[in-house]
């Protein structure tokens, strides 16, 4: 197989990697906000289950979670999922795993906000929702952007866990090509692609951070 064909195969499989990345972000970021709110809830019937969920997500390997989500429906309900479920299982496992991490980042950001901001808002007559959306959340975003950026960069690399369920992401493809050609070049090339992808992700976060540099706390 020619070098360019190999690159082409890798690039095609990069589409799968990119899908996992984007779908995970689209679902786990808003879910993370819900997780954070649930974790901070005064209602124990909400906060305790959410804490347990977070601790399981953070305390067990993502690879194991992928397997659980994939085989879970069969073992629990004797349902055989269709062939499309493989990709769905990846999305679900990644989204709930990352929602737990993002949730903790959001929570620490929200809890780091000084009480005075809430009190000033209350006296000025803002509703709770207005206070959160207009005053708290924008400041929290600035505070947590570096941690979110770290997590997103980790996500780029974590997409390679898709191999656990034999989904043809870039990493699985690189391994297959390397085995077929008995060469490490495909793996090395995949490494370069991951690096470039992360480089771009980091640059995008730099742009966000610079945009929010117009004020300080």
């Amino acid at each position: 197989m020619a070098f360019t064909d190999m690159l082409l195969e890798l690039l095609t499989s990069f589409g799968v990697t990119f899908n996992i990345f984007i779908v995970t972000l689209i679902f786990s970021l808003p879910l993370g906000l819900i997780v954070a709110v649930g974790r901070m809830s005064k209602n124990k019937f909400i906060s305790i289950p959410v804490s347990i969920y977070i601790s399981i997500m953070r305390g067990t390997p993502l690879m194991l979670q992928l397997i659980c989500v994939y085989f879970g429906p069969y073992y629990l309900f004797r349902i055989s999922p269709g062939t499309n479920y493989r990709m769905m299982a990846i999305y679900i496992a990644f989204a709930i795993n990352y929602a737990a991490y993002f949730g903790e980042i959001f929570r620490s950001g929200i809890q780091s906000m000084p009480r005075g901001q809430y009190e000033a808002a209350q006296i000025l007559g803002y509703t709770k929702l207005q206070t959160f959306m207009r005053i708290i959340l924008p400041q929290v975003i600035k505070r947590i952007l570096p941690s979110v950026s770290n997590e997103v960069i980790t996500l780029v690399k974590d997409t390679s866990f898709a191999f656990t369920l034999s989904v043809m992401d870039m990493f699985t493809m690189a391994k297959a090509l390397a085995a077929g050609q008995t060469s490490v070049v495909p793996l090395f090339a995949a490494g370069v692609f991951y690096y470039i992808f992360n480089f771009i992700v980091a640059k995008i976060f730099d742009i966000f951070e610079n945009k929010l540099n117009y004020y300080r706390f």
Binding site: G116, I123, G125, Y126, Y215
Partner: protein, 228 residues
């Protein structure tokens, strides 16, 4: 007309009576200073009055809206000075945006900060931030304004500029209740001084009366201050 009437207010923290059956009424346009030793419950009283703390007992009746100026300013750091002042009028009181902006610029002029409208809080001195906070409170046209030690986070020179601004508000005919340790200021600006100790009002009256009080506790407190 009364701007505020507080009746038999009580508040405990962990079983400790911090406010013990306090009643105060504030006339429209009246300026009241509250003085007293640390821990006497002055902050708690203001916080109960404006709903930041839930009292155990008592009645609080406002005739109109109220504002609060905090010791730590509590400006919104992600908004410019102008936005800090106009956002609540526009988004809470639904005032017209242009009107609110015009009003804000007038207030900034009064605060001596007309050229700072586009600055962000972090670009201002403490005294300037506090004056913006005062403008922000005034923008909602309150009938009564509370100040909790508005200058105690400031250097002496900055303190003077803020006190001068607060004194200038007397023309606006807004009632003001000011917790302060600045005795000369309290004496100068107030219609009435309230001396609190141990969660109760120990002494109150016109500034000269309280400053020359026969009350032992008042004398001891003022004497201690003068002694420093």
């Amino acid at each position: 007309m009364k701007a505020l009437e507080i009746k038999n207010l009580a508040k405990t923290f962990d079983g400790m009576e911090v406010i013990n059956n306090i009643s105060i009424s504030v006339e429209d346009g009246e300026v009241i200073s509250i003085i007293g030793p640390s821990g006497s419950g002055k902050t708690t009283l203001l916080r109960c009055a404006c709903g930041l703390e839930k009292p155990d007992r008592g009645e609080i009746k406002f005739a109109g809206s109220f504002g609060m100026v905090f010791q730590q300013f509590n400006l919104f750091p992600h908004w410019s000075v102008l936005k800090n002042i106009t956002d609540a009028p526009v988004n809470v009181q639904k005032q017209d945006r242009e009107e609110a902006k015009k009003h804000a610029m007038e207030l900034l002029e009064k605060m001596g900060l007309k050229d700072r409208a586009d600055y962000y809080p972090y670009q201002l001195s403490g005294g300037q931030q506090q004056r913006v906070a005062i403008a922000r409170a005034l923008a909602l046209n309150p009938r009564i304004l509370f100040f909790d030690e508005p200058t105690s986070a400031l250097d002496p020179e900055l303190t003077q500029e803020v006190l001068k601004v607060i004194k200038s508000l007397k023309d606006l005919n807004i009632a003001m209740v000011i917790v302060t340790h600045e005795m000369a200021f309290a004496r100068d600006v107030s219609d009435r001084i309230i001396f609190m100790d141990g969660g109760v009002i120990v002494d109150e009256g016109e500034p000269d009366k309280v400053m020359n009080s026969d009350n032992e506790r008042t004398r001891a407190f003022l004497g201690k201050l003068a002694g420093v």
